[in-house]
């Protein structure tokens, strides 16, 4: 098995934790992992990404355009930015909640991400849009966007990992008091995956 995964979003949204969970789950199954991510100034509200490559025959942690099996987008505009990486038939998981850049607020723009979501739906066949804002309200926590997207990604089959793989890594990598909430988020994501 070999999988190329792109996670993207805005600095501070928690893409790194999601990437850690995926790599942890893969390594538990004995699958070698290579990854690369944005560290540095862009983490302060800039565009950030993680590239993750699972499998044996991998030399470079970065992904070439047109070769990602799946893009997990924490923000609609950032997901569009990464779409050139998607391969034909690849899967997109995207949170519908926009993050307005300060520049847009200053210019009085009404950026709300809908134009971005339309473009993704138009151009990509396999898309799952998660209304993370609604989900966070229903589940009573703003800190589970990660798990919602991850849950949907697992469910799509494009990660090559299953629900139990993710639960297992959550049990070892995340403090126990969050387990129940995280598992709920995974369940919730299953429901919106269709």
């Amino acid at each position: 098995m070999s999988k190329n995964i792109v996670l993207c979003g805005v600095g501070g949204q928690g893409t790194i934790l999601a990437s850690k969970l995926i790599s942890g789950a893969a390594m538990n199954k004995g699958i070698p992992v290579k990854s690369a991510e944005t560290i540095g100034m862009a983490q302060r509200g800039g565009s950030v990404f993680s590239h993750l490559r699972l499998g044996d025959d991998v030399d470079c942690p970065m992904i070439a355009s047109g070769s990602a099996d799946i893009i997990i987008g924490f923000e609609p505009g950032e997901t569009v930015r990464m779409l050139p990486y998607l391969k034909k038939g690849g899967q997109v998981i995207v949170s519908s909640r926009p993050v307005m850049p300060v520049t847009a607020a200053l210019a009085g723009s009404n950026y709300n991400g809908s134009e971005m979501l339309d473009y993704i739906r138009n151009k990509v066949e396999k898309v799952i849009v998660i209304d993370t804002e609604k989900a966070c309200k229903e589940l009573g926590s703003a800190k589970i966007v990660n798990l919602l997207l991850l849950g949907a990604a697992v469910n799509s089959g494009a990660l090559g990992l299953d629900d139990e793989d993710i639960r297992k890594v959550i049990r070892t990598k995340i403090p126990e008091r969050f387990h129940e909430l995280n598992f709920k988020a995974l369940e919730y994501a299953k429901k919106c995956s269709h």
């Binding site: 501070g12 070698p32 560290i39 970065m62 070439a64 047109g66 034909k88």
Partner: protein
């Protein structure tokens, strides 16, 4: 041996620990910072580790330890090496007793740096040997090799990495603790002929260095991490690719779809493995060099081709066949190689070119000061206090460089660590009617600003120094420094007081203010600016990333007149527009209260921090 999933920088640290490193000193700088942090976290008890106040000091601390026979690693980013140049250039002439590895992380792009300088060039200039890993696993092993070579040839050596190696992750094989080397330093042995640099000694040392580097070049030709691949069975028998460092992984990834091509992988860019390169070049008509930053491999190959009269054409940055600035990518390298080999690139993208053309305009996201960042309040106070006056706002290196963004627009210059002080003085001497300010963070103050303050006092400049004291080194991920009173050995020590330093230098006006108190801040700036001589204001309030906040403010839409002053004036990421109304994003707001103090109708409220 066991497996660990490590970041390149963590692997370098673990490699140094496995090599029995006794002392590690450095100064934080992206992309090098995690090396020292990891040593601090995972070190055996008797390993000493410190954040020095700057790279020059780190290099000197390292030199002293290496004189005793200790194994030493000194860490920094590429521009940090400029600061450490003075001791390092001389140290190469003196040499070391214990192994000394100077880890320098270069930053092609640049992603988080002022320059795209190339440490491989620096290695040539300083005559130090240089190692360059391609992968996380190789970084782990190479740092151990570097210690051996350093001791064998009694010279400090560079380990040069780049952002993608330093910040890439991989599951790699690492040694168990039982396999670690232990190095017991012999101690410093007095010998003025050895440790005191004089012109006569330098001349003799220079002769030895030149001879040694010739020997090293031979030695490196058989260094197993310098690779010559696919000499037989290449699908393009007259063509070759030369590469090194992270770019090797781009090339080998590309060759999976393009087929085998004769390949030279250079892991010791200096001294260059000449004999190996001759073997590589012999029989080829054309070679392309895939490397980042400067055309180092390319120039070496051209030189060798000339020296040995090999009829081979070398392509690369000098011939403009490979881009000569910025980062390479898998795509750019694939483009270079397909053109060079005359083949077609594989295509499998979901988006067609027509799709790309239809892409909606993407949001632009320059990095910005966090919501609640105290620097925003400090900049805003100075801006308001000096409104309408002729001013210069000299900035510096740190999170506060982002004070340049609209709408604050409060950074007129930024050059290098600590330069703002000198720049403010230079402008002041030529334009006495300009009110000159230098902004400097607390960590930068200790690292590079103190001589500038003394210079200003001594040379009678008129300027105001603004110290933005947020009690941490924020930009690089919150390292302690002399003002925080914590060390990397876990000790709590006396804090070095910025205020006392400034008073000790002789400044009469030194005021410490909380920048989140808007009125008082503006008044203090006005007062300071009106005085002659060198004045200082210390804006003291912690970085929001190191303290906990549980309150956030909200906009009372009954009172709000939708004037947008809050958004227009301070540009806080927590202030957003939804359905044409200003709202506060409660996932970002820290309750700093700056916006509530500038709203003309008092519409922003909630519990704000005093």
């Amino acid at each position: 041996m066991h497996q660990e999933f490590l970041m390149g920088n963590e692997a370098i640290a673990m490699g140094a620990i496995a090599a029995g490193v006794n002392l590690v000193a450095g100064y934080p700088g992206t992309p090098s910072t995690e090396v020292l942090e990891t040593v601090a976290k995972r070190r055996p008890q008797d390993t000493y580790v410190e954040w020095s106040i700057n790279e020059k000091t780190a290099m000197e601390v390292g030199a002293g330890a290496a004189y005793t026979g200790a194994r030493v690693m000194v860490t920094m980013k590429q521009v940090g090496l400029n600061v450490a140049t003075d001791p390092l250039m001389s140290l190469e002439y003196i040499g070391v007793k214990g192994g000394m590895v100077v880890l320098v992380a270069d930053d092609p792009g640049p992603i988080s740096s002022q320059t795209e300088q190339d440490t491989r060039h620096f290695s040539r200039f300083s005559k130090l040997p240089c190692f360059e890993p391609s992968t996380v696993q190789e970084a782990y092993e190479m740092v151990q090799d570097a210690f051996e070579y350093s001791e064998k040839y009694r010279t400090p050596v560079f380990l040069r990495s780049t952002t993608r190696v330093s910040h890439g992750y991989a599951s790699i094989n690492v040694k168990d603790e039982g396999e670690y080397k232990h190095n017991k330093p012999e101690g410093f042995i007095k010998d003025t002929k050895r440790w005191v640099i004089f012109p006569k000694l330098s001349y003799q040392a220079h002769i030895n260095i030149e001879a040694r580097n010739v020997e090293l070049s031979k030695d490196f030709s058989s260094y197993p991490k310098n690779l010559l691949l696919n000499v037989e069975g290449s699908e393009f028998p007259k063509k070759g690719i030369a590469t090194g460092g992270f770019n090797y992984t781009y090339v080998s990834e590309a060759l999976k779809s393009l087929g085998d091509v004769r390949l030279l992988k250079v892991s010791t860019p200096h001294p260059f493995p000449e004999e190996l390169a001759v073997k590589f070049l012999t029989g080829l008509d054309e070679v392309i060099c895939i490397e980042e930053l400067d055309p180092v491999i390319e120039r070496e190959l051209i030189y060798i081709a000339g020296k040995y009269q090999l009829p081979v054409k070398v392509y690369g940055k000098l011939t403009l066949d490979v881009k000569n600035s910025g980062e390479n990518t898998l795509d750019s390298v694939m483009g270079n190689l397909t053109k060079f080999l005359g083949v077609k690139p594989p295509e499998n993208a979901a988006l067609t070119e027509a799709d790309m053309a239809e892409m909606p305009e993407l949001p632009v996201r320059p990095p910005v000061l966090c919501a609640g960042c105290p620097h925003r309040a400090s900049f805003y106070a100075v801006k308001q206090a000096m409104k309408g006056k002729k001013t210069l706002f000299a900035g510096d290196i740190g999170c506060y460089t982002m004070g340049n963004a609209m709408p604050l627009d409060m950074v007129d210059t930024c050059l290098c660590m600590g330069a703002g002080l000198g720049i403010a003085q230079g402008v002041d001497h030529i334009e006495p009617d300009t009110s000159c300010f230098a902004f400097v963070g607390d960590s930068t103050f200790f690292a590079a600003a103190i001589p500038g303050v003394i210079n200003a006092v001594y040379n009678q400049a008129d300027m105001t120094l603004i110290v933005l004291d947020n009690s941490t080194t924020a930009m690089t991920g919150h390292q302690p420094h002399p003002g925080t009173g914590q060390t990397m050995m876990g000790d709590v020590v006396n804090k070095v007081s910025i205020e006392k330093i400034l008073k000790g230098i002789g400044l009469e006006f030194v005021e410490t203010v909380n920048p989140l108190d808007y009125k008082k801040s503006v008044e203090t700036v006005k007062g300071a600016a009106a005085l002659p001589g060198v004045k200082a204001i210390i804006f003291k309030s912690p970085c929001i990333a190191i303290v906990k906040f549980d309150k956030s403010l909200s906009v009372d839409h009954e009172k709000c007149i939708n004037c947008r002053k809050c958004i227009r004036e301070i540009g806080c990421p927590a202030l957003v527009i939804r359905d044409d109304k200003v709202v506060i994003d409660d996932s970002l707001c820290t309750g700093c209260g700056l916006c509530s103090q500038i709203c003309p109708v008092g519409a922003i409220g909630g519990d704000h921090h005093e």
